[in-house]
Symmetry: C2
Subunit: 407 residues, 2 copies
């Protein structure tokens, strides 16, 4: 072995071989779109941000100061992979109070936002080529997270009441399905909330076939009525992996979510979590817990619900007044999104492009479909726009749709 | 489809099928050991925690308050996958200042501690069965992170000057090695710092064979002398993926690390990061940046270096006075660990067990070896113990070793 100084390689001309999973993973379409919609003059309904005016900055500031003053040395040290136990106890208590669910603190793992739950679930459950089922249209973040583990996706169409359980039953019987992933409350992107009957049917199919359900509950607290329909955990605690998030009710920048799972699954999730990043941000866990004991989170959530309900109703009202009847939609029960279907033959990419010229950004539904469908769909976010922006933006959008879709 | 309520499955008796990668992943031995060493009467050299007395709690508290006061609404909102640009610019500037390296802010991604870098690297580079090389003994966190992507590990023995580059060269030529992973500065667990000559040799081998180097630099700032040897990035900017961490110099509880990589690799890392958890904790990124502009981090790091140097020297001194000459060690140039090799035939698991009965916890070296070797090695952490604990604990440990190893 000579000891010469190696020559520098010429910058930028080298090619690399990446793991085959990277070829399966869509670069986020939303991410690319959001870049073009960042100009300040653009009214954007394309993103999925909570309303920043509804973040209790002062409350969080007080909580941060209290934690760092009283116990900073501990709050800034390494901690356990599972997460801060009092925070997990709080979450368990809230499941009991809100949904009547028996979830043990030991069955809860704190994650970096609920997006990380999807990565951990993929990691522990999916081998390359394994079949999984996902709603159609399906949440893009889940499609991305699971894609990295190279499953075969089986889309299950969502009707107004919930997923097509007959199709799911057939699939569960014909394939060794690793799981069905869904968002029963105010689904992203469609806004659909599974009906009580649909939940029971889904539970029945899953019980009969032994299939796991990944229940993403990012929006359960944002039902405008404040009511909650049952979690599948209630029927099938041994077959449900339940994810939750503080992003929509507290603050997304703290990246705090959680996953609840039966003990045997939790063991594997903890191994995967530890290998992935040791543990979630401990300072933020401590701040969030301090906030939750210093403040009444239900009062805060009620405020968010009321604001989003108002924003949604305004968007629907302007739409009714301005859009042709050939555009269909269904008023969501909660969440942050309104989902439109354009008249047959009308392209949402064309509407997107033209709307952007009018300084209005919308999200074409295409990336939510794994099979190339949905070219006539649009997702509109109402949570991060003012009344004026909603009125003006929807009026401009209606003109674009009338023009593009020729009525 | 009937609409009956499904029956609850009996709790705990269900078995699940996990992805095959989970069978490859060792549950952390350290984690299990740390549980038994948590009793307050135990003097522990088993962990790897920074000294909490050296965390600048007041400085971080001031920074947190300043961020939340001036710009809380933004600091608590969603942010970009790459991380807070001014923080990335600060890191790039520090590479320039400390190592003379040209790293662009665009080549830096903020992660949840540097452990997440290892997960992202595994994700984008390793297909099942791919050969990778790692130091022997190797960092346990890397073994765990990479194991989830099911590579074939090839251990490269570490000598006092660095890795066996002749063996690495043979391996690079005979295998389609995805990368070599190493910690050139104050390696965990061995404490070894690669010599300047070893770095040049390594660079030469990598340049000749086109192999990537994953350079984990968790401890580079903790060289007791304050000096730095060249990063491989200096020789091979197109073949080096460099990881860093604020855990050892600021605070581990904020989970802030970073990875620097050439643009084409960075593209893939960002896709993987986004799919994994959207982005790192933004509040902590903002707090860390505020801290770094309000304070002189070099003054703070000098304090940490001096303290660890003292703790290390004390540990070595007590060891010299009390341990038999048949125990070998090499004084580290920095970092947090001292590495012992017991006399031939002496078992570190036996020493561990007996030491624990004397209320001293040490870490047997076994889990750092992928081939079942290292049964006569021990890792001792000196950064998280007081002078009294070091003197008393090492005296007790010496008695145990004399007893167990027959001298």
């Amino acid at each position: 072995m000579t000891s010469r100084t190696p020559q520098q390689s010429a910058p930028g001309d080298r090619n690399y071989t990446f793991a085959s999973r990277m070829a399966h993973t869509p670069r986020s379409f939303i991410r690319e779109i959001l870049k073009v919609t960042e100009r300040p003059e653009v009214i954007s309904f394309a993103g999925g941000l909570p309303n920043p005016a509804l973040i209790d900055v002062e409350g969080i500031r007080n909580a941060a100061d209290a934690v760092l003053k009283a116990d900073g040395r501990s709050a800034l040290q390494y901690s356990t992979s599972e997460g801060f136990l009092p925070l997990r106890q709080f979450i368990a208590g809230r499941y009991k109070k809100r949904l009547g669910l028996s979830v043990l603190p030991e069955e809860i793992l704190i994650t970096n936002g609920s997006q990380q739950c999807l990565d951990l679930v993929g990691k522990i459950l999916i081998d390359q080529g394994d079949p999984i089922a996902i709603e159609r249209p399906g949440y893009l973040g889940a499609i991305q997270a699971f894609s990295l583990y190279a499953p075969v996706f089986h889309p299950i169409p969502l009707g107004h009441e919930g997923p097509d359980t007959a199709l799911l039953a057939d699939l569960c019987r014909s394939q060794d399905l690793r799981f069905f992933y869904g968002i029963p409350n105010s689904q992203n992107p469609s806004g659909i909330t599974y009906s009580a009957a649909s939940r029971r049917e889904l539970g029945s199919v899953l019980a009969d076939t032994g299939t796991l359900f990944i229940e993403d509950d990012a929006y359960g607290e944002l039902d405008f009525s404040g009511h909650s329909l049952p979690s599948l955990w209630e029927y099938l605690p041994e077959q449900t992996i339940l994810t939750g998030s503080f992003s929509k009710i507290l603050a997304p920048g703290m990246r705090l979510g959680w996953v609840a799972a039966p003990a045997k699954i939790m063991e594997q999730l903890v191994v995967a979590k530890q290998a992935s990043d040791l543990h979630s941000n401990y300072l933020s866990q401590r701040i969030a817990y301090e906030y939750l004991i210093q403040n009444d989170i239900d009062v805060h959530i009620r405020k968010i619900r009321q604001a989003y309900r108002h924003q949604c109703e305004l968007m629907v009202q302007v739409m009714k007044e301005t859009l042709p009847d050939s555009v269909s939609y269904r008023k969501p029960q909660g969440g942050m999104f309104l989902w439109l279907t354009l008249p047959p033959g009308c392209s949402s990419m064309e509407v997107f492009n033209r709307a952007l010229r009018e300084n209005v950004a919308v999200l074409p539904g295409l990336p939510f479909y794994l099979d190339g469908g949905g070219t006539d769909t649009l997702r509109l976010n109402f949570s991060n726009a003012s009344d004026e922006q909603i009125t003006e933006g929807m009026t401009r959008l209606a003109a674009v749709i009338r023009h593009e879709c020729g009525r």
